[in-house]
């Protein structure tokens, strides 16, 4: 091996090491923000908790009449609510980046000899930690009001991983929105407006088969439906997948759901990451 190659590898290795250090510095900075602004975390968790309580206690009675006897509404609802929580928590990335832009912090970071990737990588990583925190909190709230896992630990762990992955994916979507819109208020309004129908026109809160027939194909091909149904298959098990109920007759089997779930995540990331990075370079 020639001397040049050695040096090049060393440089490459030290560049990677420096980039990792930059990612760490910015992840830590963003996590500190969460600790310093506990109100942010508190209010963003109150909302999904309210959702759960309202849905379970207000709509629950009505829904349980149509759900199969062995499926409670809490068990049906929680996968949807938890994924919704994960996505909403992830949208914070856009708000944070818009805030950094407005305050001139992005300019400062760009003038420093740090890895260009660190701002986005550090932000999405820290926000994913907050996503995990909020998911855990929702699971605890769910368990308190009667949510039960019908399958084993491995299935639950896989479901958890999927939900975190969905959140991570949306941090990148939000990152793009934050950099493109550049204002905290605009980002908040825009991301929620876009995400709301995606979440509601899905199996998150009601079975797709109860929807008007023209909406069903949209809801069924909505990635939200696929993620939610995957988590249901993993946590409700046979009661969901092999249910004789008409409501669940169109649910694909777990294998198909799983690969579609992963494919959607891969596709969204494959678009959002490069577009977000490009947006960052241009701002």
């Amino acid at each position: 091996m020639s001397a040049t190659t050695t040096t090049t590898t060393q440089v490459a290795r030290s560049r990677t090491r420096l980039a990792l250090s930059d990612w760490g510095v910015l992840t830590k900075r963003n996590l500190l923000t969460y600790i310093r602004k506990p109100d942010l975390l508190v209010f963003s968790t109150i909302q999904p908790v309210l959702f759960v309580l309202l849905f379970v206690y207000v709509f629950g009675g009505a829904f349980e009449r149509i759900l199969p006897a062995n499926v409670t509404y809490v068990d049906f609802l929680m996968p949807g609510i938890i994924i919704q929580t994960s996505i909403f928590a992830a949208l914070q990335t856009g708000v944070g980046l818009a805030d950094d832009l407005q305050k001139g912090l992005i300019e400062r970071f760009k003038s420093l000899p740090m890895a260009r990737s660190a701002v986005l990588a550090g932000r999405t990583a820290a926000d994913t930690v907050s996503v995990v925190f909020q998911i855990v909190l929702m699971v605890i709230v769910g368990i308190l009001i009667g949510y039960r896992l019908h399958e084993g630990f491995v299935e639950a762990a896989l479901a958890f991983l999927l939900i975190v992955a969905v959140g991570y994916t949306f941090t990148w979507v939000a990152a793009f929105a934050g950099l493109a819109l550049k204002s905290v208020e605009a980002v908040q309004a825009a991301t929620f407006t876009i995400v709301f129908p995606v979440i509601f026109v899905s199996s998150a809160f009601v079975p797709v088969d109860t929807m008007p027939s023209w909406i069903q194909p949209i809801a069924r091909n909505n990635p939200m439906t696929i993620w939610v149904d995957t988590v249901r298959s993993l946590t409700l098990g046979e009661a969901f997948t092999d249910s004789p109920s008409e409501l669940f007759r169109s649910i694909p089997d777990l294998g198909a759901l799983a690969w579609q779930s992963i494919a959607w995540i891969a596709v969204i990331l494959a678009i959002a990451v490069p577009v977000g990075v490009r947006m960052y370079r241009r701002t």
Binding site: L18, R36, G104, L105, S111, L112, P113, M114
Partner: protein, 332 residues
């Protein structure tokens, strides 16, 4: 002597707008260079190009020997930037802010801590070191921001309107700090809309207007350009400003300006100050125009700007710090 900052024919367009239309600049090592101009003149665009945040559409620029486009990465190691807004993280403490920047310059954790402490001490922020920056006053934020730009011990420092929005006392504090920095041998380029700031801080000044450098030199050079002294006449009744201008503009070597709002006429007088003063008063007396004030003075950079651009510099609302309140620079 080789210039630390060397700018040649820089052009930058935003859509159809040419923000910079062929700017040349030279800044020598260890000097303070003031880029003076009104809002929208292109000052910030120039700084953003020199700090690698923006790429020029044409022309060349080197800073500390590095090309701002080709060598952007190594260049970032030797520059510091404090922008128009205090770019600090409000949720971190002063110390944490500086350590973060130090770590991003790839200093070791200990070194970043040490330099953070040193910077806080220097800017008299030690007492506030462990408070979140949210609780800092405007002046403290600016000091912390400036401090952050120094953590990497830059050879060349860029300050974009370092005192805009500060109250007069903080502004004077900031000036002291900046003067002290230069004593350490840092080369500094600062932008400002305030004549007085450029006058006090900068070794040499470039006046920039609508994307072009329209004059360059030391503050004294620029003042001499206006030609010796300036006669300032303020009429008692502002409605007579037109008549007064008609009477006296045209005297002297040329130029001059009437400010309707303030009822003031400024007139370059060259070497013949007393002669023109006498003549002006005679003429105004003949027209029966009452005067509130007449004075011969050294031209201020305001006068320079006026005579160069034909319009006043747009100072902010908070112009004119303590020392010369009677000059009242507030202009719209």
């Amino acid at each position: 002597m080789d210039a630390t900052i060397h700018v040649e024919g820089i052009i930058k367009r935003f859509g159809n707008v040419e923000a910079l239309r062929g700017v040349d600049l030279k800044v020598f090592p260890g000097t303070v260079f003031g880029l003076l101009g009104p809002n929208g003149a292109g000052k910030t665009t120039m700084i953003r190009i020199l700090t690698t945040l923006l790429q020029p559409d044409d022309g060349q620029a080197t800073v500390a020997g590095y090309d701002v486009v080709r060598d952007a990465e190594p260049l970032r190691h030797v520059i510091g930037l404090a922008g128009q807004y205090a770019a600090i993280d409000e949720n971190l403490t002063g110390q944490e802010n500086l350590e973060m920047v130090g770590r991003l310059y790839h200093l070791t954790a200990e070194e970043a801590t040490r330099r953070g402490e040193a910077v806080l001490e220097r800017f008299e922020l030690t007492d506030a070191a462990n408070r979140v920056a949210k609780t800092y006053s405007g002046g403290m934020r600016r000091r912390l921001d400036l401090g952050a730009s120094l953590v990497g011990r830059p050879q060349v420092l860029f300050l974009d309107e370092p005192t805009t929005g500060l109250d007069p006392r903080s502004r004077i504090e900031m000036w002291d700090i900046i003067r002290e920095l230069v004593r350490d041998g840092t080369t500094l380029l600062l932008t400002t809309q305030y004549m007085e700031e450029a006058d006090r801080l900068a070794d040499s000044i470039a006046v920039i207007d609508q994307g072009l450098v329209i004059a360059e030199g030391t503050a004294d050079d620029l003042k001499t350009r206006v030609g010796g002294e300036v006669l300032a006449i303020r009429v008692a009744d502002r409605t007579q400003i037109g008549a007064a201008a008609g009477a006296v503009l045209g005297l002297g070597p040329g130029g001059g300006n009437a400010d309707n709002e303030r009822g003031e006429i400024t007139l370059p007088v060259g070497d013949d100050g007393t002669g023109i003063l006498t003549e002006a008063i005679r003429r105004l007396d003949a027209e029966k125009i009452a005067l509130a004030d007449v004075a011969l003075r050294r031209p201020s950079l305001d006068d320079v700007f006026l005579s160069l651009t034909g319009h006043a510099a747009e100072g902010g609302e908070t112009t004119a710090p303590a020392e010369e309140p009677q000059r009242g620079r507030k202009r719209r």
